[in-house]
Amino acid sequence: MSNLSSLSFYIPELIIIIAILLVIVLDVIPVCKKYTFPLSLGAILLASVFLWQSYGESHGLFMGMISIDPFSHFFKMIFLLSTFSIILISRYEKQLDSNYSAEYNALLLIVLLGMFLMSSSINLIMIYLSIELVSIPSYILAGMLKNDKESNEASLKYVIFGSFASGLMLFGLSILYGITGSTDIGVVTAALQAIEYPLSIYFPLILILVGFGYKISMVPFHFWTPDVYEGAPTPITAFLSVAPKAAGFAILIRVFYTMFTLEGSVSATLPLTNINWPTLIAVASAVTMTLGNLLAVQQEDVKRLLAYSTISHVGFMLMAFAIISPDAVRAIMLYLFIYLFMNLSAFYMAIFASNKLNAHHINDWDGLSRKNPVLCAFMALTLISLTGLPPTAGFVGKFYIFAELFKHQQFYWLAVVAILNSVVSLYYYFKIIKSMYLVDVEGEVNKIEAHPVVNWSIILFSAQNILFFIYWEPLIGFIEKSINLWSG
């Protein structure tokens, strides 16, 4: 589709772009500064409305640079929801300096735009650009607390790891361009099938996997994750742990299913005959979840513990990625959707604890259930869901992933590794529950109330764990409709 006619299908992105520019402009006008916050939220809401309206459409825009399809729509909804929630909650985080709130919101919106592009890129140039568009503002966001040494350090580590990984990926892309002669991933697929030397595909494949792996923090490209998550302001940690990760999975699925499968579509059932990337992914998955879990067990800092645990969740999702089938994609999307909510509510609880009690270490959470019984009950629900026990949605997510392995009768060893890992994860998630509930505190305790926004965010995001357990059929039906990649 030509550039001009593409614009009419590009309204949500355009709204975000206009909002970014407006926020930056309003920031320099002193009287208008306070409107940037409602403006950002309003723009996201408006974009969601337009996005919802166009759900189901499938087009290639801007002369084959990006595509819009139900698959990208699904992820865009996830991005909108998480960004909206983060912008909202950040206002009530004590750590953040409200003088910079306009810049902060503008940066978040830029990341949002980048993630939109990530989920719909179908050209190598756009893939690289969109990943960078997400990464560069993220580096700044991680270092948002200018005078906090930990935050500085987090952003330094992030920028070094991030640009190194994207550099490697770029080199991989250049090789891929060289051997196939195109930057359009559909054309690349066709060219790859004719190539006789597997090594020449493996090399760019692995380099590209570095770039994507770093975005989703797959072992061994995970080193930045715990440090950045611990040092960054907590809302940013919460944001980084869900939205860019979902974007990473979106681009991973799109690129691998388009470029490295025989049919070049999501319904393909075979990898390219000359390379066996599912096994590569299966091994990465096993290593990722095991390492994430084993390191999480040793953590005493809540944010760091959650950071390592997100690594192990990525391992779980990769498990389904080792199976090439539309159902496996559905399992990943379902898991991502549920993971979004439970992870956000867990991090919001950490925001609550650090705001009100200055609590970072697990021991600081001792007896929290008596200070705020309602939130602790929901936090316990979230942690149970993160562990993957019924009756919670986390269990449903894990169940679908396991079911994929059994359905395709592949990688049973991975299933055994994964269940042992979920037993390990019980241990560290329940360290938090133990602190909140089991440890006795001496003397009188004062009730602590959270700000209503924080309070209701935690409750809503946590309550879905029960809701989607009792009846998840509509959710899976919606996801099923969304596994529909635009192809040529």
């Binding site: 690289y128 650009l129 330094l156 640009s163 550099g167 080199f171 090789i175």
Partner: protein
Amino acid sequence: MDSLQSYLIIAAILFSMGIYGVITRKNAVAILMGIELILNSANINFIAFNRFGGMENLDGHVFSIFVIVLAAAEAAVALAIVINLFKNIGSVDVDDADLLQG
């Protein structure tokens, strides 16, 4: 010397030098320079492939121009972060940034 191979060799050498720099250097600025080398090696690849690979379009050129722009943006952000770190801990040595570990 006017062949694809020689350009690819130069790119590969640059790429390796970049990785070596990133891995061995302790100075944050030097690490960033290593990353720049990696990006530029990819640029050489793109241009060389486009020039010698018999491609009909200018995708490679376009790609490398975008990379140059992004490299500049990335360097600006990275240097700002390094300067901020220098203000706070008085060093640009990555080994001195050791608050977060475990």
